[in-house]
Amino acid sequence: MALTWTIWISMLGAVGVYLAGPGNPARCRWIALMASVAGCVATVVGTFQVGVNSELVTLVRVPWVKPLGIDFHLAADGVSVVLVLLTGLAAVAGILFSWNISVRANEFFALYLLLITGVYGVFLSFDLFQFFAFYELAIVPKYFLIAIWGSTRREYGAMKLALYSFIGSALVLVGVLAIYLASGTSSFDLVRLANSGLPPGVQTWAFPLVFVGFAILAGLWPFHTWAPTGHVAAPTAASMLLAGVVMKLGAYGALRVGMMVMPHGAALWAPVVATLATVGIVSAALVALVQQDFKFVIGYSSVSHMGFVLLGLASANPRGVSGAVLQMFSHGVIAGLLFGVVGRMVYDRTHTRELTLLEGLGLARALPFAAVTFTLAAVASMGLPGFSGFVAEMQVLTGAWQAFPVAALAAGVGVVLAVAFTLRVLQKAFLGPPTTVTPEDATPITLPEKCGALLLLGTSLVVGLYPKILLDWIDGGLGSPAFATMRKAFGWP
């Protein structure tokens, strides 16, 4: 099965790039690009091998630590497939946007591919222990990418991100152990755990541990503060991956482990989650509205948009959860693009992210391609129809209408605020009055940047106009046997 190969290809690519040595950045880039493209192709092929259906397709299953019931167990349903596709796309785009990395390029791309390996692993793991192992594997390279290649206050940003992640992991670990012991199955198999009929009493206290532990990484308010600082400190490719896929690890874990295994706990805590999600949507948008640093605006915007994922999950009905998964994909693509424009196209050329300074540069004339790309990305990010964000947020809001109408209305206010802060940053950064000042380094946008931008924009547009292309997989996936207990507990048809 080609999906299995995504992990091995990325891992081999990481080793290969590292061995290429620091002396030849160009060779490192090409190896990394080929590895990520091969991974992306494998995701597409694998997606069709899995097919649109309500199956859980086992890819690999071999015993690993027999006494503890730990297997090496890779499998996929429609939900994992969609996120694996996102990872493939984001990985390619991230490398295209880091074509100018020359300092310690071999280490950079090796860590990058190691991170991708971990992300693929999480999305395909159906053994809880292995899930956790890959999850940690994704976080460690993250720290180094930021601490070594980052910018503004990078040690602080990297440390904060790492600490928050580890606190989340600790919470998850306690919850995981509790599930393992309470289920009495002597197995870490996610599906068996989900079907083991965990006592509601255990779910009541284990669910918040697991859910919050994961959702910290998804930017759950009030544990989101690592996100903006981490995004700002990270180098372009790392912030693209951070917003594009790493935040999705958190949301995916919250769904796959939190809700799928402990649906009764989820139902009990849903109002709290919905409240936190909604507060996150609105407050992060308000904060984004007054930021002076271009990247901080996008960082807070990520928190606000991830709030829709959590709100969709909290609504616990088919439309809401399906919308949450689609929003994971959509936000991954759009946020990746926004960070690519800010970090690579603008910051690497102007060496400033201060909106007041950018306003005087008249970037619409100096960098027309960047301006057009950011305008379209902004339109997508505002949730205007035609792009993927609209379909996702529409589904989440539909789900929220049914479950928490007040939260739906508040989230609607969040949409308006998102329009306001996105438009503000668009006007300030690109549409400032034309002046004679040109940026220090107004080199034209390079081909790799253009390819990366078109890849992400095109994806968002195709999904926005024909969402069926992903919805069939997502809805099929939510109908898979893995989610059977959850569907029953939530009373889905």
Binding site: P385, L397, V406, L409, G412, V416, V419, Q427
Partner: protein
């Protein structure tokens, strides 16, 4: 009729707009020519559709229906009736006229300007033909982005804040609309306007809303929820039209936008709001309209009267006309709000509803034509004055530019509703219908007519009569091309004023159906 004409209407400007926007900068005059031909082709297509249009039926015509995203209730569903035809005609004609007078405004950035204008036209075409909320909303929003960019890039010195306000205000309305329709989908299980209208009439939507949103609790009934959803949807249209007091974005936007863009904003985009009220809100929420008729009519009256008073004290030519636009749309609102579909028998339809609604459709077309012509005249005016528009700096232009003053004067008279010109028939029909249904509104509304006459005549007096005053290098009269540009729409004003049946025969079957409430 195998050709999907309505899709073609939308796709032609979309494709050509993308092409023009991506055109290399060098061929500036070539770009303009391609754009003009494109707009002309679209207008030709619309005329063709109008000829093919069957005036004996009120059924939707040129229907296209395909599956799109079944799980979300999204369908590709297009259709056209009299209301749609009038709107589509405006959406084709006004951008053509606007593009024709845009050479000064677009100078230097032709491909961007004409590309955006064509994309805007595509958005308008899509909005006026789509019958599924998702599809319709896509184009409703799609038209906003090029409009915003046109104002932002090509507008006056205050264009930044004005464009921002325009976009955000409209989006507040759009999100309210979206939330309303998501609730309707939860309740009715469909996004289809026709289907929703059927559910709305039978009261099933109210029941559905009551049943589908139980957790709101608070003892709110299905009826109250329906009313809340209705108000959300109404807000979306109220900002777009605009209805007083949601109009505050309009004067600065219309003033800061270059005049050709304002032509499209007032000529067509404001009609999106009226179209939405008639196509979407009225059929789905007949009972809610009936309940709130009194307050809504008061708002319509406020929309007629207050902007007319505000127009009297404006010093800027564009601002006067901007307020005048709000005032004229107020008549459309009056006519729309007296309709209470399905309320009473055939008698009532004949005496009140049918004239009022016919008047509204006619007024949509007339105001589109007249306002676009007036702003085209403003563009020709600005060309001569280098952008100076302060009324107190001008006077006596009639002596030096008789043709310009004559054509603009006719447009002004059309705008204030002189019989024989187009404006009169629409407003007359509206007042006739409104008087039969709610006499006090008609009486109060005439105050607006009076105020309109005062500020428009004052405008003419300031500009055309008295001592010659003109800052700058004098004021030359129209050349041949400009005479044709203004002459054609002015000619149409006479044609429609004398022979309104040209339009009424399209609208009447639709109107009778809508007025009867089925």
């Amino acid at each position: 009729m195998n050709m999907p004409w309505l899709s073609v209407l939308m796709l032609v400007p979309l494709a050509l707009g993308t092409l023009v926007a991506a055109w290399p900068r060098s061929g500036a005059s070539g770009v303009r020519r391609i754009a003009l031909v494109s707009h002309a082709v679209v207008l030709g297509l619309v005329v063709w559709v109008g000829v093919e249009f069957d005036v004996t039926t009120r059924a939707l015509q040129f229907v296209e229906r395909r599956s799109w995203v079944p799980t979300l209730g999204v369908e590709y569903h297009l259709g056209l009736d009299g209301l749609g035809l009038v709107s589509v005609l405006l959406a084709a004609a006004v951008p053509l006229l606007a593009a024709a007078v845009s050479d000064r405004v677009a100078a230097g950035r032709e491909s961007l300007y004409y590309g955006l204008l064509l994309l805007l036209e595509a958005g308008l075409m899509g909005t006026f033909t789509a019958l599924n909320f998702f599809h319709w909303f896509l184009f409703w929003e799609l038209s906003l982005v090029p409009a915003y960019l046109l104002v932002r890039f090509f507008g006056g010195p205050g264009a930044g804040p004005a464009a921002f306000q325009f976009f955000v205000y409209t989006m507040v309305g759009s999100v309210a609309l979206l939330m309303g329709f998501l609730a309707l989908r939860v309740a009715g299980g469909t996004f289809d306007f026709i289907e929703l209208a059927r559910l709305g009439r039978s009261g099933q939507l109210a029941q559905g809303l009551g049943a589908a949103l139980p957790r709101l609790g608070l003892g709110i009934s299905g009826e109250a929820l329906t009313r809340a959803v209705f108000l959300g949807v109404l807000l979306g249209f109220a900002v777009k039209v605009p209805i007083w007091p949601f109009h505050t974005w309009l004067p600065s936007t219309y003033t800061e936008a270059p005049a050709p863009v304002t032509m499209v904003l007032t000529g067509v985009m404001s009609k999106m709001g009226v179209y939405g009220l008639l196509r979407v809100a009225l059929p789905i929420f007949p009972d809610q309209f009936r309940e709130l008729q009194g307050p809504l009519l008061l708002l319509a009256l406020a929309t007629v009267i207050f902007p007319a008073l505000a127009a009297m004290v404006q010093r800027d030519l564009k601002r006067v006309l901007a307020y005048s636009s709000i005032n004229h749309l107020g008549y459309c609102l009056m006519g729309a709000f007296v309709l209470t579909p399905g309320a009473t028998g055939a008698d009532w339809v004949e005496s009140a509803a049918a004239p009022a609604l016919n008047g509204v459709l006619l007024q949509m077309l007339n105001h589109g034509l007249t306002a676009a012509t007036l702003f085209a005249a403003v563009e020709l005016f600005e060309r001569r004055t280098g952008g100076v528009r302060r009324l107190d700096q001008f006077g006596g232009l009639r002596g030096v530019a008789p043709v310009f003053c004559g054509l603009m004067g006719i447009s002004v008279f059309a705008s204030l509703g002189l019989p024989g010109l187009n404006g009169f028939v629409g407003e007359f029909l509206i007042f006739r219908g409104v008087y039969a249904a709610a006499p006090w509104v008609a009486v109060m509304g005439t105050l607006g007519l009076l105020a309109t006459a005062v500020f428009l005549l004052t405008l003419m007096q300031r500009l055309f009569y008295g001592e010659l005053e003109c800052p700058g290098s004098g004021f030359r009269d129209l050349d041949l091309g400009e005479r044709i540009l203004l002459g054609v729409p002015v000619g149409l004003m006479f044609v429609l004023g004398v022979y309104p049946d040209l339009v009424l025969r399209w609208t009447n079957p639709t109107v009778l159906g809508m007025a009867a409430g089925n």
